[in-house]
Symmetry: C2
Subunit: 445 residues, 2 copies
């Protein structure tokens, strides 16, 4: 299994996105209620090519328009970058190894009373079709127009299934043990209304209107089958705000994600994606899928920002400026957990966040963290309602998130500055096959 969301034509950049000029033609445009502007057509050329559509009759006309147009404006690659909904090589859904986007929505739905397996299957089929269209930069019929003129802007839509989904659809025999409820942690202050849910969607895009547009389109398609349970909005750095792509900072100012597993790691796939051990039995539908743990983690920023820099760095175990371990080097230097300072104490304190979460401290357990920051204004006490929409990916939460979070819960120096306010655990099936939909092997198996 490959580990990037690169399109199958090999024309993408190293970051799994495609930009303008990577196509050699274009597929037919679907009938649209709104007239396509010339700009819009240009914006979708690369996307249609990247999605691997058959070159159709419309390709010629679009090519003429492109040839006559002015050179593309600077930065247009932000809008025209697209991520493939399905990928010949990578079997996982988009939005897991895709680079962080600037804007994200996490949304959970519950199946409506009376909706069962058949209705859920129809919904996932509708959703998959629409996600594929939108991610390729195409506009559905009867569209709201909110995303017109913009390209797909690296839009991804990722679908997950919660524990209760299997009860509602009569599929409990196919529910993996990994969906057992997460244990309680002492620092949890969970809001049940903003936790879990039958169905989960992660929407990401580098443009906020494109993300909003996708959310509305997908919500509309839920129709009478599923109703919104909760929704959270997040953000990351805008492409180009730093001089070169780099590990993101969170709202505490920390470089966050340095020690993430890398797709080039030899054990990346087995850590992040469900492998052969899914077998051919009742859980075979999850082969190539992953499990997402979602936590709304509010940061007590007023408290945190009162700590001196040296204290903050001891809490984390890394330097704030560049994320380097306190034991020296740069951001990507391996942390020396054995090193002691002149005082005989470990340079990276025993309760430092980075020590406790390190794979070396957890029998190699690791998860791919891919969060968004959130900021929903201020609370009644004047403190910011802000923090991290923590999303992590793993082949088995029983061997990664749960044991690591147990350790953090007991001894992490960072814990006093965090509140876990909502939680979700979702099985994220592999990508749909051509002509199919996400979850089809489960629902039609």
């Amino acid at each position: 299994m490959t580990t990037t969301a690169s399109p199958s034509d090999g024309a993408s950049g190293t970051d799994g996105r495609t930009g303008p000029g990577t196509n050699s033609g274009s597929g037919p445009e679907p009938t649209e209620t709104l007239e396509l502007s010339r700009r819009r057509l240009l914006g979708t050329v690369g996307a249609a090519g990247a999605a691997g559509l058959v070159v159709g009759a419309a390709g010629g006309a679009i090519g003429v328009a492109a040839a006559q147009d002015d050179p593309p404006a600077a930065l247009s690659s932000v809008g025209s970058a697209s991520v493939a909904f399905r990928d010949e090589r990578a079997k996982q859904q988009a939005g897991i190894t895709t680079p962080l986007q600037a804007r994200g929505h996490l949304v959970a739905f519950d199946l409506a009373p009376g909706a069962g397996r058949k209705e859920a299957a129809a919904l996932l089929r509708r959703w998959s079709r629409t996600a594929e269209e939108l991610m390729a930069g195409r506009t559905p019929a009867a569209d709201t127009g909110v995303a017109l003129d913009a390209g797909p802007s690296s839009l991804t839509v990722t679908f997950g299934l919660g524990r209760t989904f299997f009860d509602r659809t009569g599929l409990t025999a196919h529910r993996p043990v990994q969906l057992e409820p997460l244990p309680d942690f002492s620092a949890d202050e969970l809001d049940a209304g903003r936790s879990n849910g039958d169905l989960w969607l992660q929407i990401g895009s580098d443009d906020a209107l494109v993300a909003f547009h996708a959310l509305r389109a997908l919500q509309k398609e839920a129709g009478g089958t599923a109703r919104l349970r909760w929704q959270m909005n997040g953000f990351n750095r805008t492409p180009g705000a730093t001089a070169a792509p780099m590990t993101a900072r969170n709202l505490m100012g920390q470089v966050d994600g340095t020690n993430n597993p890398k797709p080039a790691d030899p054990d990346f796939d087995e850590r992040i994606f469900v492998g052969r051990d899914a077998g051919s039995g009742p859980y075979a539908w999850m082969r190539g899928g992953s499990y997402a743990v979602v936590r709304r983690i509010r940061m007590l920023l007023d408290d945190w920002e009162k700590q001196p820099l040296a204290k903050q760095e001891k809490v984390i175990g890394r330097r704030k400026a560049d994320g380097a371990p306190l034991t020296g080097g740069d951001e990507h230097t391996k942390m020396d957990l054995e090193k002691n300072g002149p005082d005989g104490l470990p340079v990276v304190p025993a309760d430092a966040h980075a020590r406790i979460a390190a794979p070396e401290s957890n029998q190699g357990a690791a998860m791919l963290r891919r969060p968004f920051s959130f900021h929903d204004g201020f609370r009644d006490d004047g403190a910011p309602d802000a923090g991290l929409l923590f999303v992590c990916w793993q082949a088995d939460p029983l061997r990664s998130f749960i044991p690591i979070q147990r350790k953090l819960d007991r001894g992490d120096a960072l814990s006093p500055f965090l509140r876990h306010e909502a939680s979700g655990l979702f099985a994220v099936p592999p990508a749909a096959v051509a002509g199919g939909y996400v979850g089809q092997p489960l629902l039609e198996g």
Copy 2:
């Protein structure tokens, strides 16, 4: 008075922002708690030059770093673009004629009990200094680090004064009649707790972390002098999401802002900025300033999206796809308000939004609309809590916003789809002079 926020060195682009490579030197860097990374230095070179600082001893060192570095990554102009806090030519604050940024915060503060004119003056001095530093891409001492690595990303901070500010500071003799409370409109459903306030800040940036960082830094400086009253978060399109810069779309999908006054219009300054008629009397401190009307306008999107496209276009008076008037042409073609269709009725209906709001329908009254969209999740009834953070700028709201909104309130076909939920009216003084602060002529006059 000039009408753009261009820096005084003339090196900016036509949009009032500066990018990399426009400087010929750099000012001294302030002492920083966090180590500056090389990348960070590069990001601030353009900014420091654009802010018109004196070339200092540090310039050489930074120049060497720049020369040794790899070529800048694509898109780095997003981060390094900066807007001047003060401008030798334009006398107004930044954030009025500055192009829309991708992310925005609107924030109101009330002076704390016991805080009067002296404390307000000290706060505006602190705020002005910090705004200037941050807009130039410099990091304050004891910084949170949230914006590290990013450039200023077109950050602007704009300061306004509400009606109650003058009572609290004993300056009612200097309060212009333009700050009289706005009249009630029939469609208002205003939340007093999210309306008005003594002090108002508009923060905009193309990067969400840079905007958040500025908000936190400014809030911290309010200290015991002022406490947060309300805060709203908004967004616009990400730079580069469209192939070329264009008029923004709102969450209804409409191209919104086509008929805005343009800086090149001969009467732009007199419509938007307070001019000579401020005289030398008690209101002279507002000469070169502007008035901001702020409205949180929720859109009833579920209702709106049920309307057929033809109905939506009649409500607005423009085509949805490209914003062209229903009377033909393209987006910037003048609307023919006299044209009748084959049925003998006006092509642009009598109650169309664009007709009622047009300057031709309002004795030439016009305002510069510069909004952000908002999306704060969903309401209890499942409808999106989303719409427009409407911000409009004018020399005199008594001659622009108020009469136009009265007309819209009576007869606008769009009104049934909108709810005005919060409202603010603020006097926005001219820019600070060198070494001074925003509002100084009022507070020390």
